[in-house]
């Protein structure tokens, strides 16, 4: 079958790889109908996540049709149209039972790498380096889905592919940021990063009762999209002082909940950005946390900051004084998709959660390297390139 392979930093190619087969009884094979780029992939492509092997198949946000099931699969059958959570989770360990699915104990067959980085390993992700398991990704014609009964969800008939696709990763990630960030009735919520993840966090915040939601980015077309589809307020960080603007808009209090959806490759301006870029290049820090610092600084006293953007290692000049003295709650997570996907599909079926606007560019799998190039540089208003193998 054809698949998009990582060949090295900024080097992708579409190649022939072996078809997947059932290796465990609880596996299913899914024929991919749609699979999309995610900001997380950029961290792999740009070489900031160690533990990539030349030839690894990328992709983790996808939807398709079940074409084969192992003897241990009960809930799915051949022909089901399913969206698959980007995290592989067993459904029966203590973490899965406590709805902390991305922390699954039993899905990562290479735990030593992540344990060396973070003290303990997390669960596995499709196509996301050997630290996260080393599984083949979804930018391919077929994918093997382990623990299929827990990770693949039947899509309701009225929900189209372009909408349901984002229930795999972007939508549950954003929802989790607002939910575990503690968004409640009447809150003011600020979201850094207006990609699909940030926009989903903003939409979730609205649905969870926030009174005002402010999204922050520099790409006009992304901010316009958030305004049009979610009714969020917007802020171009290159045109203004974000902290001052947020204080002014919140009567001097600051946002109640700040959600960071930018990650380790934050863009920035000024000396802070030069400093982070130099240190990241020398690997003296593994991420550029400019948006995270700003979120912590801007957050109201006693407020909450949720980190959705991916970081792999350590960062510099972390504002620990602000965290401690302002009594903040700072939390982060890889997405616990299985906890939210059924509810998100229901909301999609009711027409209350909009996602298909993210699919700005559709193309065949052979065009995937070009799709990633557009997505990386945000050319032509690209929010997500969606591949149809």
């Amino acid at each position: 079958m054809r698949a998009l392979c990582w060949r090295g930093v900024n080097d992708l190619s579409v190649e022939d790889v072996p078809d997947p087969v059932i290796l465990n009884d609880q596996d299913a094979i899914v024929k991919v109908a749609a699979t999309t780029t995610c900001g997380s992939d950029l961290h792999l492509i740009d070489g900031y996540v160690p533990a990539m092997e030349s030839g690894d198949v990328l992709g983790h946000e996808f939807l398709g049709e079940v074409v084969e099931t192992g003897p241990g699969v009960d809930r799915l059958k051949k022909g089901d149209r399913v969206v698959v959570c980007s995290f592989i989770s067993c459904g029966r360990c203590w973490y899965c039972e406590h709805d902390l699915w991305s922390l699954c104990d039993n899905s990562n067959p290479k735990p030593g790498i992540a344990a060396a980085l973070w003290g303990y390993e997390t669960g596995a992700v499709y196509g996301y380096s050997h630290a996260m398991g080393g599984f083949r990704g979804s930018h391919a014609e077929y994918v093997r889905v382990p623990f299929a009964d827990y990770g693949a969800f039947r899509v309701p008939d009225g929900v189209d592919d372009e909408t349901a696709l984002f229930a795999s990763d972007a939508a549950p990630t954003g929802w989790m940021g607002a939910d575990l960030g503690g968004v409640g009735e009447g809150d003011v919520v600020a979201v850094w990063g207006c990609g699909a993840v940030g926009q989903m966090a903003a939409q979730a915040a609205t649905l969870l009762g926030a009174e005002r939601v402010i999204v922050i980015d520099r790409f006009r077309e992304r901010l316009d999209m958030a305004e049009r589809h979610i009714g969020a307020e917007t802020l171009d960080y290159t045109a203004t002082d974000v902290g001052a603007e947020l204080r002014e808009r919140t009567g001097g209090r600051g946002p109640d909940v700040c959600i960071e959806a930018v990650g380790m490759e934050a863009h920035g301006t000024g000396p802070q950005h030069l400093y982070d870029s130099a240190k990241q290049r020398l690997r003296l820090e593994t991420g550029r946390p400019q948006a995270l610092r700003e979120a912590i600084q801007a957050c109201r006293k006693g407020g909450s900051v949720f980190l959705l953007g991916v970081f792999v290692g350590w960062v510099d000049k972390f504002p620990v004084g602000a965290l401690m003295n302002k009594g903040l709650t700072v939390r982060g997570a890889q997405q616990h998709g299985q906890r939210y996907i059924p509810k998100l599909l229901d909301l999609m079926a009711e027409g209350r959660l909009e996602t298909r606007q993210f699919a700005t560019h559709a193309m065949g799998l052979d065009a995937a390297p070009r799709g990633y190039n557009m997505f990386k540089h945000k050319r032509d208003g690209c929010v997500r390139a969606v591949f149809h193998p």
Binding site: L23, N24, G72, C90, P109, G112, I113
Partner: protein, 161 residues
């Protein structure tokens, strides 16, 4: 009936085990909470999301822990707060210092690596009924790829256990 007797016997066994364990801990007193001075003596442990009775009665547990080359001491204790069961093992013969240095670990010769792998496999089998497999890798390798591959191959036996 026979099954009932068996399960009663197991429960009784566990109750006795628990009491002995508590007594042992009391006896060791402060000493037992002190740090282990030699890593080679450490118990390696996983917590299994199942009650001790079930863990104790599981035949696949013995199978995994009796893999060729593994000679282990085993300890099964309830985890606090409904967190299931703590399964701890340690090699009956203390490995030589030379066997557990960084080079041996990188070469995959540290005798604790198969122990960690067995513990994880036992846990996964008990919790999910299987041990997740990876697709085999094919095609030519780059140097970087070989390093990551080697790290990945050791990774199953490394980590904080």
């Amino acid at each position: 009936m026979r099954r009932l007797i068996k399960s009663l016997a197991i429960s009784a066994g566990i109750a006795v085990g628990r009491r002995l364990w508590r007594r042992y801990r009391r006896k060791r007193g402060a000493k037992s909470t002190g740090p282990s001075t030699d890593d080679r003596d450490r118990w390696l442990a996983v917590s299994i999301n199942a009650p001790p009775e079930q863990v104790e009665a599981e035949p696949r547990l013995r199978e995994v822990l009796a893999r060729p080359g593994l000679r282990l001491q085993m300890r099964i204790t309830p985890a606090p707060g409904g967190r299931g069961t703590e399964l701890a093992v340690r090699l009956k013969e203390q490995p030589l210092p030379y066997d557990v240095n960084l080079l041996s670990r990188l070469a995959g010769r540290d005798p604790r690596q198969p122990v960690r792998r067995a513990l994880r496999d036992a846990k996964s089998l008990l919790e999910t009924g299987e041990v997740i497999e990876l697709e085999p890798r094919e095609g030519p390798r780059t140097l970087g790829g070989r390093i990551v591959e080697a790290a990945g191959a050791r990774a199953a036996g490394e980590g904080r256990l």
